[in-house]
Point group: C2
Chain length 160, copies 2
């Protein structure tokens, strides 16, 4: 009886939340101001606090504490988001996502005019429209490895 | 050429965001502390600020300013969320959702144990599992009317 919940509903909510999460990070300013960095960090902390599934929220809060959000800009934030999502995927025995394709996968369909706005350029992470969306079963990937593969230098801050 | 964007992608993102939004509100504490109220208000403001579609974010920020989030507790927050969503539905020419069924529609599938935690009781808004989920084409509904129909007294604060 107890502790079961409805796994289908929980998974549907999870997919919706990850979609918003990754798309938000994929549209974060390329180079964020102090104010923008604070906003993202606070948003993610509140996201983890108010997430409807208490058990999932607890897991995510621990991840945030262990791997603090990378907020310097779009690439760092997006790669961080993919990294922590893969930690959850591994814990749940799900396929690990290839973080090189995260920018291609999570697009907002935003209007052209958004691109003119601050921090609203889209597709920065897209490495060719023809690149195949690939899901790889690979458990050894780390944030640092993915960043190395992406050829970009970003901060990597960890606690604990 | 300009300003079009990809309406399919934008709509998919919107559905994901609304799902998380309503489910979060449906799981908000029944009676919120000052700290919880502040957390929800900040979360919603940051949600509106960081939402990936800049045009949509702008619309939602205006809605938040005109109809500040109701944060006293679950019923107030959920009904407020349904009210502002219907304002967006009306603007987009979409069907208006019956706010009486919002608690029934947005469930998180959370584990039984969550119910024991603070503010994690589920189904409070469910008014009978057999109640038909009904979408009504009705443009005259207001937050106050819906609250009146729900027979609960909550705050209604408006600016402007």
């Amino acid at each position: 009886m107890p502790h079961l919940g409805n796994e289908t509903l929980k998974a549907e909510l999870g997919r919706a939340a990850w979609k918003l999460f990754h798309t938000t990070l994929a549209r974060f300013p390329e180079s964020a101001s102090v104010d923008e960095r604070t906003a993202l960090a606070q948003y993610l902390a509140l996201f983890a606090r108010l997430y409807p599934c208490g058990e999932c929220a607890g897991h995510f809060q621990k991840l945030l504490a262990q791997y603090p959000p990378q907020t310097s800009g779009r690439v760092a934030a997006s790669q961080w988001g993919c990294f922590v999502h893969n930690l959850v995927n591994e814990r749940l025995g799900k396929e690990v996502f290839d973080c090189m394709t995260v920018g291609e996968t999570y697009k907002c369909g935003c209007a052209e005019e958004d691109k003119k706005g601050k921090g609203k350029k889209e597709g920065e992470l897209v490495r060719g429209e023809k690149e195949k969306k690939e899901v790889v079963k690979k458990t050894g990937s780390s944030l640092e490895e993915n960043l190395e593969r992406s050829g970009r230098k970003i901060e990597v801050v960890r606690e604990g």
